[in-house]
Each structure stands twice: as C-alpha cells, then as structure tokens.
C-alpha cells in the first residue's frame, strides 16, 4: 500500500486540467471588447479615438513603432489588457503584413468594425508615409553633395546591419527550441532567396511546405515519445492498481465470506 500511495496522488493531480487551458479567456474575448475590466467600465473608443491613438503612437515610434503601439494600447488608452495584447499579437504575427499594421486593423475591428479598422489603419500609416517621403525628397535634393552621399552610404550600411541583427535575434529562440528544424530551413531559405535569387512565391511554397512538414514530423515524434512515456507510467500504475484491486477484493471477499458465513452460521437453524 505504501508504494501505491504516490501514484494515486499523482493521478489526482492529473485530473485537474493544466493551467494553460484553465486560464484561457472565454471564446468571445478576441472579437468582442470585454467592458468589465478592473474597477470600472472600459470606454469603447470612437473611430476618431482609434485614428488619433494610432497616429500619435506612430509619430513617437522612432526606431520601431511596435514598442510605442504596445504602450499606447495597454498603458495609456487601456484598450487591451496585456493578455489580450499577446493573444491578438499572436494572430497578427501568424498572418501576412507588418505586425503593428495588422494590430491596428484588429483593434479597430474589435471596437468599431470595418470603420474602426480603416480609422486605425489611416492613423498608423498617414504620418509615417508623409514623413518618409519628405525625408527621401530632402535626401534626393542634396544627394549630389559628396558629404551627404557619403553619410547616407554609412547610414544605409548601418540600416542593413539592423536587419541582420533582427534576424539573429529572431533566430536565437527558434534554434534553442529545435535546431534540427531551424538550421536546414534557415540555410535553405537563405540559399534560395539570397544566393539563387528565386522569386518569393517559389521560395515560400517550397520552404513553408517542407518546413511545416518537418515541424509536423518532429512534433509527432516528440508527442509519440511522450505517449510512450505516459504508457510506461500508466502501465506500472495499472499493475499497481490491479494489485490493489486484487488485494482489496481478496480482503473484501474474505470479509464478505467470513461475515456471510457468520450470518449464515447465525441464521442456520440448528
């Protein structure tokens, strides 16, 4: 009995659903604003609020609008809780387009439908588009000045480095998670896109297909390993349980037998 006790306790823990599923918000939180948050009602932003909110975030977002967007949505305007932000961002990263642009469409949709999406989209794009064209025009105007051309060359070289750095930063976690998947796919994509210069649709079709297939195979393998482990564990549990059942049955049978014998003995007429 002493050996069986821990496995029983383990099984009791297993019966409680894992935290991942229990803490997941109810199904409607993504598409419908939850008005009750913290102490009071969260105000639903108007189209104008959405426009100005994203406009102001974009103008302040030097060197990356994403950080500003997050601050605006969660801390300043309180349109999203941190959890809602992460969930919505997960959707936006999964879909084509720039993250912050996708986020503006999703947040606009959430509060004000398609009009909200358009307002938020206009807010995030208007100022940066104007500023970038103004900067480019300014640069082109003085591009013939040798110092300007030289400085611009230095800035362009550094900007290219920023993109390389972003790739390295993104590569780190996925290599740590599963380098057998990451290494061939990253190198394969790099070879096709950078060195062979294949068209993007061809690269995407081939690599996304191959990579998802590989991810599926690795997931299936690791989950079958987990199943095997679980089976081993449950196998020994089953043995323990059978022993316990057999043991207790034997005890119960013996008790029943003895008690019925006793009853029988008592009831049998002499």
């Amino acid at each position: 009995m002493r050996v069986i006790a821990p496995t029983l306790r383990y099984r009791a823990l297993e019966a409680i659903p894992p935290p991942m599923t229990s803490s997941r918000p109810p199904a409607s939180t993504l598409t419908q604003p939850s008005p009750l948050e913290g102490e009071g009602l969260r105000e639903i932003p108007t189209e104008l609020d959405l426009f100005t909110g994203f406009l102001w975030a974009s103008v302040r977002g030097f060197g990356g609008v994403f950080v500003m967007g997050r601050r605006m949505l969660i801390e300043e305007r309180k349109w999203l809780t941190p959890e809602e932000f992460v969930e919505l961002l997960g959707v936006c990263q999964f879909l084509p387009g720039a993250n912050i642009v996708n986020l503006s469409v999703a947040v606009g949709q959430r509060f004000r439908g398609w009009k909200g999406s358009l307002a938020a989209l206009a807010g995030i794009l208007a100022a940066p588009a104007v500023i970038s064209v103004a900067l480019a025009a300014l640069f082109m105007r003085y591009a013939a000045v040798p110092q300007v051309a030289h400085a611009m060359g230095a800035v362009a070289a550094t900007a290219a480095g920023l993109v390389v750095g972003a790739a390295l930063k993104m590569a780190e976690p996925i290599f740590r998670k599963d380098w057998i998947l990451a290494l061939p796919v990253v190198l394969g994509t790099l070879a096709m896109a950078a060195f062979l210069r294949w068209p993007l649709p061809a690269v995407l079709l081939l690599m996304a297909g191959a990579s998802s297939g590989l991810a599926w195979a690795r997931r299936a393998r690791s989950s079958s390993e987990a199943v095997a482990q679980r089976e081993m564990r449950s196998g020994s549990e089953a043995v323990a349980q059978r022993e316990m059942r057999l043991g207790s049955e034997a005890v119960a049978q013996r008790e029943m037998r003895s008690s019925s014998e006793a009853v029988a003995r008592k009831n049998t007429p002499r």
Partner: protein
C-alpha cells in the same frame, strides 16, 4: 505585366506581395529589391539600400520601403498607391480572420504551421539584411558599420535610431 505603365506595375506587385508578407515586410524586402533593381531597373542596388535606410529612419511601420519605392517610380500618387496596395490585401485578411479566430485558434495545424514558418521567416529576413548590405557596403568601413548595427540590435536594447544617427555623424566628420 511589363507592358503596363510603371505605377500599375508597382500597384500589382505590392498587391501580391501584401499577401505573401508572412513575417512582416522585411521578409518580402528581398523580393521587392529583386523586382525593382534586378528585373525592372527602376533604381540601383545602392539607391534601394538608401531608400530602405530612409524608411528605417522614419518613425512608423516598416512597410515604408513600399511607400518609397512607389514614390521613386511614380511620385506622390505612386507613394499613396504603393502604401495602400501593400497593406490592403493583408488588412482584409486580418480583418476577416480576427472576426472568426475562435474557430481555429486551438486547431493543432495552426501551431504546426507557425512552428514551420518561423525559420522560413528568419531565413527571409537574413536574406533581406544580406541583400541590403550588399547594396550598401562599398568598402570595409561600411562592412564594419553593418556589423556594428547587427550587434547593436542583437545584443543590446538600445533604440536602433542611435546607430543610424551615429553612423551619419561619424561619416560627416570623416571617421568612416
């Protein structure tokens, strides 16, 4: 497509790339460069890298490279059309999917595609960095700047704009 005026070619190209921009606009930058520089010769590789630098230095989302390509090819109307085309189709997709997301949020294939796409996106963004550097790095000093920019983003949490400003400053006083 080649018979069309440049502004229509730009529009069509970005409408298609918008749908393919899984992993953001940096992932389609190599394709934009291939079309604009290699195939249509609208600008040189160096000019493209410079336009990209302007887009980086501007506050806002990184799809501004599309805006600037449109501007370079067809002026202000080109800039507006390129911006709208670059985010139009993807926005329609986002709008549709976020409305119906609950239906496939928990499907296992979603997780598998996400796991599979992540290294492809890294490969495409690395390609983007490589191609931009190839366009911009004329000598070893430029290569050093590229390496410094990469290290800054990879290893620190500094605002990348500092790197761009420092590069411009160092170039103006003649250090690099």
């Amino acid at each position: 497509m080649n018979g069309l005026p440049p502004i229509s070619q730009v529009a069509l190209q970005f409408l298609l790339l918008s749908i393919l921009a899984v992993g953001g606009v940096n992932a389609v930058t190599p394709e934009i460069q291939r079309q604009v520089v290699d195939l249509r010769h609208w600008m040189s590789a160096r000019e493209f890298s410079e336009m990209f630098a302007v887009a980086q230095a501007t506050p806002g989302p990184n799809l501004l490279i599309a805006t600037l390509v449109g501007w370079k090819v067809a002026g202000i109307p080109g800039a507006i059309l390129a911006t709208v085309c670059m985010c139009g189709p993807s926005s329609v997709i986002v709008y549709t999917v976020t409305r119906a997301w609950d239906r496939f949020r928990d499907r296992p294939w979603r997780r598998i595609i996400q796991d599979g796409m992540a290294p492809v996106v890294v490969g495409l963004i690395a390609t983007s960095g490589y191609i931009l550097a190839k366009g911009a790095d004329a000598d070893w000093r430029a290569v050093v700047l590229t390496a410094a920019g990469a290290l800054l983003v990879w290893r620190t949490r500094l605002n990348p704009l500092w790197a761009l400003g420092a590069a411009a400053g160092l170039a103006l006083i003649g250090v690099v």
